[in-house]
Symmetry: C2
Subunit: 215 residues, 2 copies
DNA sequence: CGATGTGAACGCGTTCACAGCG
DNA sequence: CGCTGTGAACGCGTTCACATCG
């Protein structure tokens, strides 16, 4: 979708699966396969019509409507997310902000009043909020999730490093910022190069470069 | 690793692959297979020793050392990341903060002075920074990435919604917050059901039931 | 016995290769 | 002729099932 938006901006009329793949960092076959799962959007010999395909992709992604979102946790991350312009651009409207800290309640971020957590159920029900962003401490996440679900929320964007237990019909998307850096440290970590004084214990192709270990 | 940390905190001595899998939201076979790729850490009939395995996993993830990190972009997200305590807890130390905005330069976040972007190469080289967090606007991301790489950075945590072009030896980890919400809207988007009034009895990922379309 | 470690079977997403169509 | 759409082939991660060993 981002690639299509860029092409639309540039006024490009049609695009081939090869060009789309290059933009999106994938393969042409993959682009065609995935799109073909939803319909037949292209023209053989020509490519895909940018504007029409973009509209189609938006609909597939559920972005052809507004979504009411609640933000729970007005800490540093929560505040940053509230002001993140791309959410609103994509149709996600944060209509309520909650925090458990009485010192924060009544305060404002970007002109929106922070409400006490105990009003969560009422407000979410009344406004028909379907998605909640959890930017709360790990120990509070499960309780907030339970209450949000009880209030009718069907999707959770969870920034707390815990595995939430929710009913099967509720979708959870975890974002673990620490893990993102850990993934890098794993990739950058120096491997033990071969040739060490390993008593000849390594025969056959080893998966990782480090010698097999026993505790 | 998070599961093991919780077990260590509780003073549990050994843990089975089944218990670990439950905690981590995966399967016992998967836990055993993955661990066995790195070594033979368990005891048959008993399970895995929590403390020793935790140490081993930390090393595998490259978390048995400190990592010097630079933060580029002192906007809302950048500031939130700087103060995010879990980075430091895991050994990631943000030793420099940069911003292109002269109004921000010289200011402080959490006691750390914001430096002008044009000092990026010098500072990163001098301090031996290996990882950079990119919390800059999309249009600036590629240039910052290029300069960070030129200054010796080998890992990038990129919050800008662009696909960075970097040399093959540099690792990039993309975090796209808008996409995380879009993923939810896609999952929550109402499907055209094929007549069957399925009252919510669903298991697992649902197939795409929308009729095939043509533009 | 009980739980690990692991070859084998399985399933599934990816890639290939080409028929089909503008 | 060019590029889509797609069945088939492929590769690979997951899961199974059990030999193995404390």
């Amino acid at each position: 979708m981002r690639a299509l938006e860029a092409l639309e901006e540039k006024g490009v009329a049609t695009v081939s699966s090869v060009e789309l793949a290059d933009q999106a960092g994938t393969t042409a076959a993959h682009v065609r396969k995935d799109l073909s799962a939803f319909g037949s959007f292209g023209t053989r010999g020509l490519g895909y019509p940018v504007v029409a395909l973009l509209r189609e992709v938006r609909e597939i992604l559920g972005l052809d409507r507004r979504w009411l979102v609640a933000l729970v946790g007005a800490g540093r991350i929560g505040s940053a997310l509230f002001a993140y312009p791309r959410f609103r651009e994509r149709g996600f409207e944060i209509v309520a902000v909650f925090d458990a800290d009485p010192a924060k309640v009544g305060g404002h971020i970007e002109g929106c009043e922070i409400q006490p957590s105990d009003q969560l159920e009422t407000v979410l029900r009344d406004r028909g909020v379907e998605i909640a962003i959890l930017a709360v401490p790990a120990h509070a996440a499960q309780e907030v999730a339970d209450r949000a679900v009880a209030a009718g929320v069907r999707g959770l964007l969870n920034f707390a490093p815990v595995r939430l237990k929710v009913p099967a019909e509720v979708f959870v998307n975890d974002v673990n910022l620490a893990m993102e850096l850990e993934s890098l440290s794993h990739a950058l970590r120096p491997r033990l190069s071969s040739g060490g004084a390993n008593g000849g214990a390594n025969a056959g192709p080893r998966p990782h470069r480090a010698p097999r270990r026993t505790l």
